[in-house]
């Protein structure tokens, strides 16, 4: 039994199925414990929907989403989410208080909350910015707060929905490398959504490529056994990139053709 499983998962908005509104159809996906799984796909293919189903924000129309064999019912502290952009941070709380937020919801005392949150803020390099409010920090720093806020929960599953999508290329590269370090020691199982192949290769143990929508499902999977840290300039990196690009490229092409026809 795999740790996380999508079985024949279908999802659509609206009551009745018609040509355009089916997001996922027959999605089968398995993630074993401790795996860093990256889901790649062209835009609009339903990768974020897959993450939302596992997070419990949405319920599947058909099939089932299972964690340790049990269907996901609702969001929970065992599957913590890192969102794209900074909208999920609380602007009225300082960086430290944002990281403390999950611990406060857990009902921990002030002293323990503070020490655990401070430790994680330091871990993501924000020790000197604990008292600042999100609007006083850069986009990269705000994503660091989100990473600290997620990891402070010690969750067995981390869900990341293009967390670096809104960042500039340099900041993104730095945060990718840091995430590799952080996740290496945590033992967490990660589902990471992106459309950036290089990002996927840097981070992943396993990469799933999705078909173009509507009614998307998994097209192909790649097992990555390159040693970490991975070198973006290496020959091995380029070879993997090329293999994935060929599979993903076809799907992106479909999207482009369809958009041109519409």
């Amino acid at each position: 039994m795999s740790f996380i499983a999508f079985r024949e998962v279908g999802f659509r908005y609206g009551e009745r199925e018609d040509a355009g509104n089916s997001i996922l159809r027959g999605l089968d996906l398995e993630i074993s414990r401790g795996t860093f799984y990256v889901l790649l796909g062209p835009s609009g293919c339903g990768k974020t929907t897959a993450l939302n189903l596992l997070a419990g924000f949405e319920a599947p129309r058909s099939g089932s989403v299972l964690v340790e064999g049990r269907p996901v019912q609702q969001p929970g502290m065992d599957r913590v989410v890192i969102f794209q952009g900074d909208d999920s941070l609380y602007p009225w709380l300082t960086a430290l208080e944002n990281v403390e937020f999950p611990l406060r919801m857990m009902g921990l005392g002030a002293a323990e909350r503070r020490s655990r949150a401070e430790a994680w803020l330091a871990r993501v390099g924000l020790a000197n910015h604990a008292a600042k409010f999100p609007h006083q920090l850069s986009g990269g720093m705000k994503q660091r707060i989100q990473i600290a806020r997620a990891l402070v929960c010690d969750a067995p599953v981390l869900l990341m929905d293009e967390p670096f999508g809104a960042l500039d290329a340099q900041t993104r590269t730095i945060l990718q490398d840091e995430l590799v370090d952080i996740c290496a020691g945590s033992g967490a199982t990660v589902l990471f959504i992106t459309h950036d192949i290089a990002e996927a290769i840097i981070l992943a143990d396993r990469i799933g490529v999705m078909r173009a929508g509507p009614g998307s499902a998994l097209k192909d999977e790649f097992e990555l056994d390159l040693p970490r840290p991975r070198n973006r300039g290496s020959v091995e990196f380029a070879a993997v990139y090329d293999r994935i690009q060929r599979v993903l490229g076809e799907e992106v092409q479909k999207v482009v053709m369809r958009e041109a026809a519409a």
Binding site: F57, P75, S88, W92, F101
Partner: protein, 266 residues
């Protein structure tokens, strides 16, 4: 070191002086234009200049009448504003949180808010007489709708990821409301309250003009009967200055009490 500090504070003083002068300038220009217009009009009784208005103000203060009018008007506004804000916030939160409540009350609220407080004056005066109750009710009425709409929009526009994150961390029901919904909507509530303050000032004058024996609205309206245009001007200018003061005071309170939640403009 001390020279540098002196130089810095010297610049600070100059900076503050410029700040003050720039803000006073439009007022000074207005007084000059007013004086010019009054002389050109050439009927001082109908269009008194700044000087005779100033003298009238001194006289009204000496009589104690202006202070009394200010106090009673401010009292009516304060009571109505506080009650109306709380009421508007409560209703706005309910409508923002519950789709059925919003759907049920929405059309009713949007109809009622176009029946402005001034339209209600006649009926309210007949029901509650000329006393304080009728004025306070009108202020409550005008405040409620502005704060209600603003609060409701504040709740409805909370980014879904803020609520989703909180649900991931186990917040449900009242804790979700207290830790996320309310603080996220608070800047909108404060903006609404600030707009409602302006409405309160407009409403109180209308109410006091129609039916009152004291207050700034009464001063302005009653002076017409005695052809005391200078007293009318005193009432109008006092109103503006009080409004400015109230607005600044609210901005200050927002900064001090709600620093974390301040709207972008305060």
């Amino acid at each position: 070191m001390s020279a540098a500090v002196a130089k810095l504070s010297g610049q600070g003083f100059l900076h503050h002086l410029t700040w003050l002068v720039l803000r006073l300038l439009p007022f000074v220009v207005m007084v000059f234009l007013w004086d010019f217009a009054s002389r050109a009009f050439d009927v001082p009784v109908l269009f008194p200049g700044p000087l005779s208005t100033w003298n009238k103000a001194i006289q009204l203060i000496a009589d104690g009448q202006l202070q009394a009018d200010i106090l009673i008007s401010l009292w009516r506004i304060t009571v109505g504003f506080v009650v109306g804000s709380l009421l508007g916030m409560t209703l706005g939160l309910m409508m923002g949180l519950s789709r059925p409540i919003a759907d049920t009350l929405g059309p009713f609220v949007h109809t009622l808010r176009f029946i402005g407080p001034i339209a209600w004056i006649s009926a309210v005066m007949m029901w509650f007489g000329l006393g304080e109750t009728s004025k306070v009710i009108l202020i409550v009425y005008t405040t409620t709708f502005v704060v209600l709409i603003s609060t409701m929009i504040g709740v409805m526009t909370i980014h879904p990821n803020k609520l989703r994150a909180a649900r991931v961390f186990g917040a449900r029901g009242f804790r979700l409301f207290a830790h996320v919904t309310l603080p996220a909507a608070l800047p909108h509530v404060l903006t609404g309250a600030r707009l409602a303050m302006m409405n309160s000032f407009m409403t109180i004058i209308a109410a006091e003009m129609v039916a009152a024996r004291e207050g700034l609205g009464f001063l302005i309206f009653n002076s017409r009967q005695w052809m005391e245009v200078d007293a009318i001007f005193v009432g109008m200018i006092t109103l503006g200055l009080l409004g400015l003061l109230a607005d600044r005071l609210m901005a200050l309170l927002t900064r001090v009490l709600f620093r974390r939640f301040r709207p972008a403009d305060a």
